[in-house]
Assembly symmetry: C2
């Protein structure tokens, strides 16, 4: 739950950062900010939390150059904006922050493009150890949904809403808010969480009543999942102690979707403990499924082959399971979509494929 305390902590941490600049000036030092190097070679597996986090290598943003000084000036202005925003209990999007900088009195502090303001907010997350959500910075949109036997309470600006994610929603399901830490789980009858990549498959599972039949909560990932979607998945796993399985297309891009749910992403490795669900397991489409169920396939494109080869090198995919699956896929040179299961009939996925896989995995 995002509480008043979280917001006060965020404010404190931000002010501490600004205070640090002040102290550096005061003691005659050149102000600087140290942050972990954010590249593939600087992520390490944390044995305790079982997620990938940044390693020991760091980069320094220092005011010893005009460019560096400008970066710290922008950081100072952004800190002031965020502290005020929290004070007033407002929020804003990353894009609004970029445009808003045009209203700042010091032209040197204005952002030249949105990449710059996005990156700065990420830097501030890392050094302050507070998440963007607690700064009240919203993403552009997420739009993912839940459907299943879960009753929750969302704290909205208009008061509390108690919502059952089957009985109180339409066929579209419950829309996950930008900051899912405003949600409390009240009651549930969930045996497992099933994260689904595509809307077409999500709708198929709902139409076939799969959530009802197997007491599962269906989380629609909508392709590469937004932070809000990954966060609520992690909370469902941790707070309700239920297994999480991820159901995607059978291609390297979809394995990355699974990876971002389970292991965290390189870009947001500072948030892995907040966003990643290392216990999440991949249900399919597996390359072995393509062979076993004789699914309709497309040939691998060159970009697919490159992505698979890059995954073989990726520390997050260094397991016997993934090595076997990826090597099989490179061997058969084929990929398949989740909806290709429809070639065996519209009920095949809910009557045969998922029950068999869930049984194999010991989930049901």
């Amino acid at each position: 739950m995002s509480t008043k305390q979280d917001e006060e902590l965020a404010q404190e941490r931000l002010i501490d950062l600004a205070a640090e600049f002040y102290d550096q000036f005061d003691s005659g030092d050149i102000p600087a900010m140290e942050i972990p190097t954010r590249t593939k070679t600087n992520i390490v597996f944390d044995e305790d939390s079982e997620v990938w986090v940044y390693g020991d290598r760091t980069s320094t943003r220092s005011a010893n150059s005009v460019r560096g000084a400008r970066k710290l000036l922008k950081a100072a202005y952004t800190i002031e904006f965020l502290v005020d925003q929290l004070e007033e209990d407002r929020s804003s999007t990353l894009r609004e922050l970029y445009y808003l900088s045009e209203s700042w009195d010091n032209k040197e502090a204005q952002f030249s493009d949105q990449d710059e303001s996005n990156q700065l907010v990420e830097d501030l997350e890392i050094v302050s150890k507070v998440t963007r959500e607690d700064f009240h910075m919203r993403p552009e949109e997420s739009g993912a949904t839940l459907m299943g036997p879960l009753e929750l309470r969302e704290q909205t600006r208009r008061g509390e809403r108690a919502i059952h994610c089957q009985e109180d929603v339409g066929e579209g399901g419950y829309q996950i808010p930008n900051n899912p830490d405003t949600i409390d789980f009240l009651d549930h009858d969930i045996d497992f969480v099933l994260c689904v990549e595509t809307g077409g498959m999500r709708d198929r599972l709902i139409e076939n009543g799969f959530d009802d039949m197997y007491n599962c909560l269906i989380v629609h990932l909508k392709g590469q999942p937004a932070r809000a979607t990954r966060r609520i998945t992690k909370r469902l796993h941790d707070e309700l102690s239920v297994p999480v399985v991820v159901f995607t297309d059978g291609d390297p891009w979809s394995y990355r979707i699974y990876g971002s749910v389970a292991y965290g992403s390189i870009k947001s490795a500072h948030l892995s403990e907040y966003l990643a669900t290392p216990e999440a397991r991949f249900i399919g489409i597996q390359p072995t499924d393509i062979v076993e169920y004789e699914l309709p396939t497309d040939p691998l494109a060159d970009s697919d082959v490159n992505a698979l080869e890059s995954e073989l090198e990726d520390p997050r995919f260094q397991s016997e399971y993934w090595t076997e699956q990826i090597e099989l896929q490179l061997d058969i040179e084929k990929k398949a979509e989740q909806q290709s299961l429809a070639s065996r009939g519209l009920d095949f996925v809910t009557e045969t494929y998922l029950p068999e896989r869930l049984d194999d995995m010991g989930v049901i």
Copy 2:
């Protein structure tokens, strides 16, 4: 409301089509299907309904070539599938139809790619005069939402749900289902409908309480709006007799978004009367706003200039208003996003820009 009657009508019309092939065979004619030519040069303004519809030019799909015969064979198989689906009260996605064809006994009837099956379903809509929704064909996903003083009842597979689109939903709003004709409007306090292109702006309006303050229903278009979003917008306008305004970025692609809400699209001109809201008006961002409010801008790219020039030629944009706006934009060579209004502060859009524009337009 999509009713049992609509579904029976859809079945009847489909069977009529198949019967026509039968009669053609029976009387010794080569089976054929005639459909309107679907190009920019064959759309005309229908004075009665005030929307753009297909003109008189038609193309014929005839079995007098192997290619044409194969197309009609595929149509026959698809008709059978759709009739069965309606019989069983099932539904499916366009993508599932494509994959499902792999299970058909006749290899010649299987689709070679999804464009082919999509196009065939559109052809069937046109000749049968029944919408895809009444065939129970779902789109891949839409995901757009409503927020505002509206109480509705959605007929779901799990029974009826009565939902108030402010009081019974979280901050994410009410998720529009794939077929919004399953919705009845029960009660409302809406003075106007405000369709919004981007998620960031939608969230800004909700956070600032704009829907509450002005009794407006906020429809999130999510970029180019899905059919479900356009359909519900039209129904809100027609059934509740409230004005509809469309709020997008200020660039040629966004004018097309407005155009698809108001005038219908070339691709789905056979559905204009079902989907288009000709009374919908464009609120902005207008090129004149860019000048008047001195908004932060980006230069027009070559593709923007081409798109603007193509709009000057487009029959749907042949009004004094659009000619002036587009020519001004070509003149200033700039475009601006909705969120650029944040350069005047986070409340500028709700306290100044929208009230001024709505007042100018006579909506408030």
